[in-house]
Structures are given as structure tokens and as C-alpha cells.
């Protein structure tokens, strides 16, 4: 027996991995390079700061979604939960910083927990359970805002507003919060037993059970995480906008799913990265930014381009997995 470790030839799965992970990164680099050259305003520091800030709210949600999708699930409730989190934060701001921050985290975390318990314990489809909580959260929001008639404002001199509007070198706090969460998320996924359980649950649930992985607990945790992070994103948005806007977040769950998948996470579960998701957010936001800069182009083309991207990625995943 030779002592050298024989490398296996680059096989299908390995190639899939490379292309999925690097594919989004390559696309991002290309899009950024072209935009930089074509649009003089794109490379300006102001624009980049704005771009990063816009992306940070979505990134916070998408990090949670990454975990959910890797377990083979889906969380459709995050758009509504995000909006609810914003309203709760705005309402809570009158009682101080802590209430404004913790109230949305606790309530939205609870919604996630219920999602997780229903999915893990009763074996109901994640699609159905989180569709129900999408309606529930949106309904709850309308109730506490008198059908959207009441908009809670946050005093512009409060500490909570600082959380959304404060800057370091012009870069908003939410950017740093999202970056820190991405770092922790990546660590959690790749370097902890919990992360391994997430992969195992989505990769082969039956086997995972036989291998002693606490599948149910893992599911409960990822949905709780997803709900909490959606609530946090809502709170940050409220702080940034200085009010709890009731009409935001409609369809945001689909954006979150899109960036996760564009980032190379398998929609069927078992494989994915937080870094990929962050790159996916970058890609979508840059495209959005560019379309905004072409003043003559209808801003609805954002969705068209995002849709095309998503389709390409999913088709590629399918082909490469054969």
C-alpha cells in the first residue's frame, strides 16, 4: 500500500461544487467590472455604500434562508415576518432601545419556532406551514396597525434609529451587522456539529436519523433562526426608515430564496454556503443598481434579470447533477 494519498479524479459532484460556488462569484466579478467601466457613477463611494446598505437587509434574511434550504426545507414566511418585525420595532421604540430590538426578535423567533415545531413534529410540508405563517404574520401586522392606517414613527434622535442610520467611514451599521452574521453563520455551518447536522438532514434525512443526527431538533433550530433573522432585518429596516412601514416585504421571501439558490445552495438540500448567499445578494443588488442607473429602463427589468439568472443557475444545477 502506498503512503501517498491518491486524489480522485475531478468527478461530477466536485465539478458541480466548483461551478456552483465559483459560478456566482465569477458572474459577480464580471457584472461589477462591466458596470464600473460603463457607468461612471457606479464606482463612486457613495453608490457602493448605498449598494452595500441595500444588500445588508436582504443578506440578513438570506443567511437564515440558507440554513433552511440546506436542510431541504423552505421558509415562505420571511417577507411577512420581516414587515411584522419592522412594525413591532417601531412600536416598541417608544419604550426604549431594548424593547425596540428585542420585541421583534422574540416575536419573530417565536413564529419561526412554531414553524419548526410543526414541520419537524407533524411532518407537514414546509411549504404549507410557512405559507400559513406568511398569512398569519401579515394579518397580525394589519391588526396592530389598524389595517395599515397607523404608521408608528420612531423619534429621529432615539438610540434605535442610530442602529439603522449610524455609519463608520460612511458605511452603515447594518452592513457590519450583516457581515458579522455572515461570518458567524459560515462558522456555524462548517465548523460546528450543528452545521454538520444541517447538511446531513438535507442530504439524506433517513440516513441522518440512522446516524443519530437529531433531525427534528435541527429543523426546529433552523426555522427559529430564519424567523429571528427576518425579524432582525425588519427591525434594522425600521430603524433606517425611522418608521414601521406596513407595505414592505411583499414577495421578499422569493428574493431571499433566489439569492440563496443563485449562490449555489442546492434547492433540494444537502449542499450550500453562506458565502455563496452573500455573493448572490451582491449579484442581485448590483444588477438592480445598474438598471436604476440606466434611467430609461423600466425598473421592473430588475425582476426580469433576476429571474433569468435564477433559471440559469437551477438549470445548471440540474444538468451538472446528472
Amino acid at each position: 500500500m502506498t503512503a501517498t494519498l491518491t486524489k480522485t479524479t475531478p468527478t461530477m459532484a466536485a465539478r458541480t461544487k466548483v461551478l456552483q460556488r465559483q459560478g456566482a462569484a465569477v458572474a459577480l466579478v464580471l457584472v461589477v467590472a462591466v458596470s464600473w467601466l460603463v457607468f461612471p457613477r457606479f464606482g463612486s463611494l457613495d453608490n457602493l455604500r448605498d449598494l452595500a446598505l441595500q444588500g445588508s437587509f436582504l443578506a440578513v434574511i438570506a443567511i437564515g434562508m440558507t440554513f433552511v434550504i440546506i436542510t431541504g426545507g423552505i421558509d415562505l414566511s420571511v417577507g411577512s415576518v420581516y414587515a411584522l418585525g419592522g412594525v413591532l420595532a417601531a412600536w416598541g421604540a417608544q419604550y426604549g432601545f431594548l424593547v425596540a430590538l428585542l420585541l421583534p426578535l422574540v416575536v419573530c423567533g417565536l413564529i419561526g419556532l412554531i414553524n419548526g415545531l410543526l414541520i419537524a413534529r407533524t411532518n407537514m410540508a414546509p411549504f404549507i406551514v410557512t405559507l400559513a405563517s406568511l398569512l398569519f404574520a401579515r394579518g397580525l401586522l394589519l391588526v396592530i396597525t389598524d389595517e395599515g392606517a397607523t404608521t408608528y414613527k420612531i423619534a429621529s434622535d432615539s438610540a434605535f434609529v442610530e442602529l439603522g442610520r449610524g455609519t463608520v467611514f460612511g458605511f452603515g451599521y447594518p452592513i457590519f451587522i450583516a457581515a458579522a452574521l455572515a461570518l458567524v453563520g459560515g462558522m456555524l455551518l462548517n465548523r460546528t456539529n450543528f452545521g454538520q447536522n444541517v447538511f446531513a438532514t438535507g442530504g439524506a434525512e433517513q440516513s441522518a436519523v440512522l446516524l443519530g443526527v437529531p433531525v427534528a431538533k435541527t429543523k426546529v433550530l433552523v426555522y427559529t433562526m430564519s424567523g429571528t433573522l427576518a425579524g432582525l432585518a425588519g427591525a434594522l429596516t425600521a430603524a433606517y426608515l425611522q418608521s414601521g412601514v406596513t407595505v414592505i416585504g411583499v414577495g421578499l421571501e422569493l428574493d431571499a430564496i433566489a439569492v440563496v439558490v443563485i449562490g449555489g445552495t442546492l434547492l433540494t438540500g444537502g449542499m450550500g454556503t453562506v458565502l455563496g448567499t452573500v455573493i448572490g445578494v451582491g449579484l442581485i443588488k448590483v444588477i438592480q443598481n445598474v438598471i436604476n442607473q440606466i434611467g430609461t429602463l423600466d425598473s421592473n427589468y430588475q425582476s426580469v434579470v433576476s429571474g433569468v439568472f435564477l433559471l440559469i443557475v437551477v438549470v445548471l444545477q440540474r444538468i451538472l447533477r446528472r
Binding site: M1, T6, A13, M187
Partner: protein, 508 residues
């Protein structure tokens, strides 16, 4: 090799009974596993092996009896129960990852440890690549390494070689011997006689949930073992079965089906079957001998590495569509998952396969459907309140008839029947058997797969006996006796071709 130790058994089971929904899976079973022995656990499908394993490992509780375990048990299942998308090393250490001082997974050490461990099993693959990129045999070995490393005193292997290549089998058997030398007791479940006799010390035979024999394996002739599994004494050759088949159907016509050299590694290797119109050819063999695979290969549902199928002298492409068009139909073994659509009506279930034939421009004629369905219900004596009754409400036997009607609707020339009477009551069984007889007399060519020897002996005009994926013999006329079949299955006097190929890697 087996150094007898008079120590306490590592597992002891006494008088265990286990019932599922009124069906006895185990009744009053005794089972003892001595330290360091390799114990074969054999029995046909439904004999209670899996249930016993689950009782041993504590997955099932018992209704009665006592289970004593004096050690850690690891189980390796037939299917590799690992996560294909995760890396080899992540699979090896899932749940007990080495940590660094920050409490995070130490990936370098995990990879190094995994590589080190696997080298002992002859695996030199890159442990950081996804498990799914390894060959099935290597994956099986990873599962084995993981199981053994979990500090096991007992390793249970459930059909570990069923999906392995001959070379991989050798490596696995080498590992089993190594474990044996380390004093680990092994329960080895397999249907492959050669493997059992090569490595096992003791054997326990289960049949219908009863332990019918426990003892040293070497002293038990193969034919004796096979007859213990199938449930009749070798002497008891003269059997007047409970089957309802009539006399032989004589057929001298040209073969309507000629399947030659069907190969789909590792399941079947060079199987040839010929059937004439009006003939019933039986496929005999133990579970896992390649019976279902042969039928699936004939109809094109199993990708083959080689072999041809001729229908009435014309080659047929290896797809289900082409086969169906050529006149081959197959009644699958598992009605629940591969056949019946429970919430559709009897009528809808019957006409399903014939719909393309019954429709014009995609619109089906309801009156045509009704005519055909009525005719079949009458002809097959299907007991229904109306053709619109849901299939789920019918008994097993009548469901089977509905399926049979579905395929007969397509006017096949060749009908492949995989265990057509399994799981249906005695009365319905006789009716289905009589029906098969009738169909053959009308000129249909039938391939009959059955685990019940009586059904094959009485029902078939000719028997093809399979063993480990190859034809072990063809019997007809006077040879159609229990003794001949058992001998062919057990292969009393054969030299095995797969053995000397060996593995260049391990033999020590």
C-alpha cells in the same frame, strides 16, 4: 480460527415475540451470539430477520421475551446509510467531530484521522471529496469503518455485499476476517451461500418468525440449509401443493420471447430465457438471486450492460416503451408502490395502460372503456360493487386481478408476473393461479416469478433456476421436482467462478 471462549454471550435473546398489527413477525425466538463469532442469519423474505435485527439493536421493543446485550452494537445496512453530498471524513465523524480549543470542528484533524482509518480498509480516496463520488463498495467500507470505529463489540451486517462487485466483496470479506481477529462478534445476513460458508462459524435460520435451526454452519450441508429456509425437508419431495394449476400446456411453436445474455452488473450476469406461446416458464431462486432483475431487464426497466431481447424473432430496444409496444407486459412485485393507484376507480385503474389505444386525438371513448372493463371484470371474476368502486376498497386478491386486467387490456403476447400471489389470501391465490393457467392455454407466454416452490413446480412447464445472478440450471419434464430445484439453488457441487478473481489489494 474460532477459538472457543466460554465467556458470557455478547447478545442473548430468549423467547422473544413481536407482533405488528396482528401479524406475528417473531414468535418465541431464541438467539445467542458468542463473543468473537461470525454468525450467519438467514431466511427468506418476511422470515423476520430485519425484525430480529431491530430487536437486537433496540429499535423495536418486544412484546414478550428477554434481550440481554453485553456490548456495543453497530449496524451496517444493505443500503449505504450515509450522506452522499457530505465529505467522506464528515460522514465518518458525524456526531463525534474532533474539536479544536475553540470548540470548533478541527477539519484538518478530521481529514487526517479519516484517511488514517480508511487506509486500514484499503481505501485511499480523498477524504475531503463528497462521499457520493466514491464507488458503492468504497462507500460500504466507509460505513463499515464508521460503525466499527464507534467502539463496537458487535457488528451487524445486513446484506453488505448485495450491491458490490466481486472484487469489492473480497475486500469486504477480508475486513470481516480482520474484525473477527480483533474479537468483534459479527452477525452476517446474506443470501449468498458461498460467502456464508466461507466466513461464518454459526448459523441461525428463521422461517415465518420462528427460529428453525441454530448451530455450527460447517456441519450443515448446503441443501439442508436451503430446505430449512424454504420450509420443507429434503426427503419430503412428494408434495401435493395447495396450488390450483392444471396440467402442462404443451407448446411446440417458435419461441415468442428470446432473451439472451442479459447482464446488469452486479445484479444479473448472462441470464437467458426463452418462452414459447402458451408456455409458463418459472424463475426460481433465492431472494436476491436476480429474479426480479431478470424480468425488469426483459421489459427494459433495468439498464443492462449487455444482452438482447427478441420478440417473435425481432429485436426490441431496451426501453419499457418499445417493449410494451412489442407486446411485453409486467406485473410488478409490489402492488402498492408500483401498480395500484388506490384513489382511482376500478375502471380507471384497468384502462390506464390501454388509454393511448382507446383514445383518438387524446380523447378517450367512455363507452369503449366501459365495454372493456365490464368484459375483464367478468372474465377475471373481479368482485366489485361497480366499476366505479375505489380500488383501495378491494381485497388484495382483487387488486391483483385489477392489475392483471390492466396489462391484459394492452393485449400482450408476453406477460411477466413477479410474485403474483404474494400477500393475498388462499382463496384468491387459487383463483389467480387458475387464471394464469387459463391465459397460457389461450396462447399467452408467461414468465412466473415466485418464492413458493410449489407454485412454480405446479404452475410452470419449465423452470429456470437462478443463483447469484446467473442461470444455475434449467429444469423441465421429470426434473420438475423439489429435489432438483433445491440442488440447483444450493449448487452442491460447483466451483465458483467469481472467487479466484480475488482482489489484488488485501489478501494477507
Amino acid at each position: 480460527m474460532p477459538t472457543d471462549m466460554p465467556s458470557t454471550p455478547v447478545i442473548e435473546v430468549a423467547g422473544v415475540t413481536k407482533t405488528f398489527a396482528g401479524v406475528r413477525a417473531l414468535s418465541d425466538v431464541d438467539f445467542t451470539l458468542q463473543r468473537g463469532e461470525i454468525h450467519a442469519l438467514v431466511g427468506e423474505n418476511g422470515a423476520g430477520k430485519s425484525t430480529l435485527i431491530k430487536v437486537l439493536t433496540g429499535i423495536h421493543t418486544t412484546d414478550a421475551g428477554r434481550v440481554t446485550r453485553n456490548g456495543n452494537i453497530s449496524t451496517i445496512y444493505q443500503e449505504v446509510n450515509l450522506v452522499p453530498l457530505m465529505s467522506v471524513s464528515a460522514n465518518m465523524f458525524l456526531g463525534r467531530e474532533p474539536r479544536n480549543r475553540f470548540g470548533l470542528i478541527d477539519r484538518a484533524r478530521r481529514d487526517a484521522d479519516a484517511a488514517e482509518l480508511l487506509r486500514g480498509y484499503g481505501i485511499t480516496a480523498d477524504v475531503s471529496s463528497p462521499l457520493g463520488t466514491l464507488a458503492v463498495g468504497e462507500q460500504q467500507m466507509v460505513a463499515l469503518a464508521r460503525a466499527v470505529d464507534a467502539n463496537a463489540d458487535v457488528v451487524i451486517m445486513d446484506e453488505p455485499t448485495s450491491s458490490l462487485e466481486p472484487r469489492e466483496v473480497e475486500t469486504l470479506l477480508g475486513v470481516v476476517r480482520k474484525l473477527h481477529e480483533q474479537g468483534i462478534a459479527i452477525i452476517y445476513v446474506s443470501h449468498r451461500m458461498d460467502e456464508l460458508y466461507r466466513i461464518c462459524d454459526t448459523v441461525t435460520v428463521l422461517r415465518d418468525g420462528v427460529n428453525v435451526h441454530s448451530g455450527p454452519l460447517k456441519e450443515l450441508p448446503r441443501i439442508e440449509l436451503v430446505s430449512l429456509m424454504l420450509g420443507r425437508s429434503v426427503k419430503e419431495i412428494e408434495s401435493h401443493g395447495t396450488t390450483a394449476f392444471g396440467e402442462d400446456h404443451h407448446a411446440d411453436a417458435e419461441p415468442v420471447l428470446q432473451a439472451t445474455g442479459l447482464t446488469s452488473r452486479p445484479r444479473i450476469d448472462g441470464v437467458s430465457v426463452t418462452i414459447r406461446p402458451g408456455e409458463v416458464v418459472g424463475l426460481a431462486g433465492l431472494l436476491g438471486s436476480g429474479r426480479t432483475e431478470t424480468a425488469k431487464a426483459i421489459i427494459g426497466a433495468l439498464p443492462v450492460d449487455g444482452g438482447t431481447v427478441l420478440v417473435a424473432g425481432n429485436p426490441v430496444a431496451r426501453t419499457v416503451k418499445a417493449s410494451t409496444r412489442a407486446g411485453i407486459s409486467m406485473l410488478a412485485e409490489d402492488r402498492k408502490t408500483e401498480g395500484i393507484i388506490p384513489n382511482l376507480s376500478v375502471r380507471e385503474n384497468i384502462v390506464l395502460a390501454a388509454l393511448p389505444r382507446l383514445s383518438r386525438f387524446g380523447v378517450t371513448s367512455r363507452s369503449k372503456q366501459d365495454r372493456i372493463v365490464d368484459a375483464f371484470i367478468k372474465r377475471l371474476r373481479i368482485k366489485v360493487s361497480s366499476p366505479e368502486q375505489k380500488v383501495a376498497e378491494l381485497s388484495g386478491g382483487n387488486q391483483q386481478k385489477v392489475l392483471l386486467a390492466r396489462w391484459l387490456c394492452t393485449e400482450p403476447k408476453i406477460l411477466l408476473l413477479d410474485e403474483p400471489t404474494r400477500g393475498i389470501d388462499v382463496g384468491a391465490k387459487a383463483e389467480v393461479q387458475a387464471l394464469i393457467d387459463e391465459l397460457a392455454r389461450e396462447g399467452l407466454a408467461v414468465l412466473l416469478i415466485s418464492s413458493e416452490l410449489d407454485e412454480l413446480l405446479d404452475g410452470a412447464d419449465r423452470l429456470v433456476v437462478l443463483r447469484d445472478g446467473s442461470v444455475a440450471g434449467e429444469l423441465e419434464g421429470d426434473q420438475l421436482t423439489r429435489e432438483h430445484v433445491l440442488k440447483a439453488i444450493a449448487a452442491e457441487v460447483t466451483d465458483d467462478s467469481g472467487d479466484h478473481a480475488g482482489s489484488p489489494q488485501h489478501s494477507r
